[in-house]
Subunit: 206 residues, 2 copies
Amino acid sequence: MPRPATTSADALLDALVDVVVDRGLDAVSVRTVATAAGVSIGAVQYHFATKDELLLAAYRRTIDQFTARALTLADHAPTPGAYIRALLAELLPLDDARDAELRVALAFTARSPHSPRLAGLYTAGYQALVSAVAHALDQAVRSGDAAADVDPHRDAITAVAVTDGLAWHALCAPDALTRDDTLTALHAHLDRLLPNRGDSNTTDGH
Amino acid sequence: MPRPATTSADALLDALVDVVVDRGLDAVSVRTVATAAGVSIGAVQYHFATKDELLLAAYRRTIDQFTARALTLADHAPTPGAYIRALLAELLPLDDARDAELRVALAFTARSPHSPRLAGLYTAGYQALVSAVAHALDQAVRSGDAAADVDPHRDAITAVAVTDGLAWHALCAPDALTRDDTLTALHAHLDRLLPNRGDSNTTDGH
């Protein structure tokens, strides 16, 4: 038997993202990812035995990449409010890279109600995001930057819902909602929670 | 050639919804829908030549059913604010019927970036919903029921995003966000736009 050509797991996951962005999740298979990566089916199976293993690994990597960006933002944001604005803006399709990331995330999301392992990852990622926003909102309440009626946990749930809803609408109805519209709408929402915008020009120039 | 057994298009679309709810959109095909409906493949093809035709028809029916419910709500809501609350609550997975409807809608949504015809339907439905909410918010501004800082179009975009985001999170992360949580969060969001809640007990008892 010929030995499979060597290739990294990361290169295969990059190829999977290309397949999803170009043709949708329906087109993903061990075979199409092998073709997109320019390797044999055996080379894919060396890392990922099945399509489900491929999808789980790609989803996990998306979450890890977002978490790494979130930690960098936390280190650089001057205030809790600025951190929330920057963190949630990272989830909007404001450039081609995030647009591609969102297409992959949406495809996985739609599959998760029928895959317990994907659903577990989805829930963990969702809870981590809500907790991060709630923690920062709590800090903003203590520092006096939040509006008087802010409830950190409740308003974190809503802020994350606004963000994902806007991202989804811009992705699926781009003729009705542009990328810029999503950022304007997100900031208008956050302005009600965090009226003190004095620091926000350090994060995205809005 | 044997004549296909007769069956209505509606019965086939009901069978398609059953397949999506039980096994996900990946499982939908002319063959699985025929099996679920207890008819021959030819009986399905008599109405829908391809899987894409089936999906388009099911998506169009979902939108039509929602539109019919929205018109009934408009006839019965005592104020524009009550109409907005009732209309958006219809989009949350508050019972098993709406949960199933949302699973179908999410599956279609995820497919729409790779299907121009589905994307066209999605965009039209999205725009109609935002317009309906913006129109009602405009009426609430004129009647004095809306907060002073409400911008009908901008706040309609955000309210629809909150609603779809909450629905999506409850569907995909039910351990983290319950059905009741979605209604509480939606009302908390709308309370900021429409502080006059005197009429809302006529719509959902919240």
